[in-house]
């Protein structure tokens, strides 16, 4: 599996750099924690209104934190023209794209774990009761966010006002994914197991991931090389 091996070495490189500099990790983690704290102060976190909002709040935060992470993803390749170097190298563009996505995926997972802990403490929610389902939801959704984020991060990498442009393009695409995540997470946060409805959504997430990942692989060359 050479392409996959290449993808993983790209991801590995990114993570190595990120853990050294903590550029996007700091920003994303600090941001999401700050937001969660903010809301727990702004509204009574133990009122039941917050409970029906919890899932939405979580995934919004993650979606936003995600933007902070994959914003960096490709702009990290700009200094010293590293992106050009990679494109001229034997590395396959698709591997590069997937590798980036893998990197973003892990960073986002870290952010999510941190925020979930904060969330559990400040909102008194026992989200760990159905670990398997939760892991599934987070995994699928995060991968979706990561792949779409990397694709369009690459696509807009040297665009004016890309900070505002990127969310505009990405979030509409992510909305089906996020709805699914929110629906299922809400169920988990009221400490119920998955029913058929949630499993249906899980399937939707899975299909979404598969479709977008294959599109990304197919279009990698187009997106990256001009």
């Amino acid at each position: 599996m050479k392409p996959l091996y290449q993808a993983f070495s790209v991801a590995r490189k990114d993570l190595a750099v990120e853990f050294r500099t903590k550029e996007s990790l700091n920003a994303a983690a600090a941001f999401s924690v700050a937001i969660l704290l903010l809301f727990s102060f702004a509204f009574d976190p133990f009122s039941d209104t917050i409970h029906e909002l919890a899932g939405g709040l979580l995934w919004l935060t993650f979606a936003f934190a995600g933007a902070l992470v994959f914003n960096r993803g490709f702009s990290r390749e700009l200094p010293n023209e590293c992106l050009d170097t990679l494109l001229a190298s034997p590395l396959e563009p698709s591997s590069l794209l997937i590798g980036k996505a893998i990197g973003v995926f892990f960073l986002l997972l870290i952010v999510e774990v941190i925020s979930l802990c904060v969330f559990g403490i400040f909102y008194g929610m026992r989200w760990w009761l159905h670990p398997g389902e939760l892991a599934l939801t987070c995994g699928l959704t995060t991968w979706g966010i990561a792949i779409v984020g990397s694709v369009f991060g690459a696509l807009t990498v040297n665009l004016r006002l890309r900070e505002l442009m990127l969310p505009v393009i990405i979030y509409p695409l992510l909305i089906p994914l996020l709805i699914g995540a929110i629906e299922t997470t809400n169920t988990l946060l009221i400490e119920q197991p998955f029913t058929g409805y949630e499993w249906l959504w899980a399937k939707v997430l899975l299909v979404f991931d598969i479709v977008f990942t294959s599109l990304a692989v197919a279009l990698a060359e187009t997106i990256l090389v001009n």
Binding site: V151, F152, M165, I175
Partner: protein, 228 residues
């Protein structure tokens, strides 16, 4: 030549539209439960369908552009998306008027409605992206990619009423249900109106592409000027 074709199509569409309107209001009876207002369906759904078909045609041209690197396909795709966007907007507006009367609300976050709105947003983003990029080949590449991704959502829009049952009524067209949900006479007008809208859409696209073509000619001339 192209102008003539455009005018002809527009005229044909207009004529058909007049005929349909006559049929709708003077021939077809009111609908049992909804009364007169149901007639909005004759514009609501066809507009949406024309729009969605448009997105898929744009998708094909985007792929064509990527394979051939010929800017003509790119501008064709772009103008189709513009026109389709208009029809999607017609669909949403008629829809929400209908909603106001039938459900008593302008809007609700039902899956069909949302996915339709999301669809509009995605392709609005497509046009925005095109404006943000100056270099023509890069513009073509990136917007083509976005178009391909965007069409995933169009599928969701189409299928959403079959997957999830909530506010928005389910399938009634016989191509989807195998018939029985809609009076044939009514459905005939439905499709005739669809055809009328389609003709008008094509006319608009032709006009739009002509502008694109002229702009392309201009800067190829400029290139020649630079070369010598």
């Amino acid at each position: 030549m192209r102008e003539k074709l455009a005018i002809a199509l527009a005229a044909a569409g207009g004529a058909l539209l007049v005929y349909n309107l006559y049929q709708m209001f003077l021939v077809l009876p009111d609908e049992a439960m909804q009364g007169a207002i149901y007639r909005i369906l004759f514009f609501h759904a066809p507009a949406a369908i024309v729009g969605m078909v448009g997105y898929f045609v744009a998708l094909t041209f985007s792929v064509l552009y990527l394979s051939s690197k010929d800017l003509r396909w790119d501008s064709l795709a772009a103008s189709i998306v513009e026109v389709s966007l208009v029809f999607s907007l017609i669909n949403i507006c008629t829809g929400s008027i209908w909603a106001r009367i039938i459900w008593g609300i302008w809007w609700t976050w039902d899956y069909r409605l949302t996915s339709a709105l999301v669809c509009v947003l995605i392709f609005a983003g497509y046009l925005m992206l095109r404006r943000a990029i100056d270099e023509p080949t890069q513009r073509g590449r990136l917007s083509a990619a976005l178009c391909i991704f965007g069409c995933v959502d169009v599928v969701i829009v189409w299928k959403s009423i079959e997957w999830f049952r909530n506010q928005h009524p389910g399938p009634v067209l016989s191509i989807r249900t195998g018939g029985g949900h809609m009076d044939p006479a009514m459905e005939r007008i439905f499709w005739l109106n669809g055809l009328a809208l389609l003709l008008i859409a094509i006319a608009l696209v032709l006009i739009r592409t002509r502008q694109e073509a002229t702009t392309r000619e201009i800067d190829s001339l400029r290139r020649l000027a630079h070369a010598v």
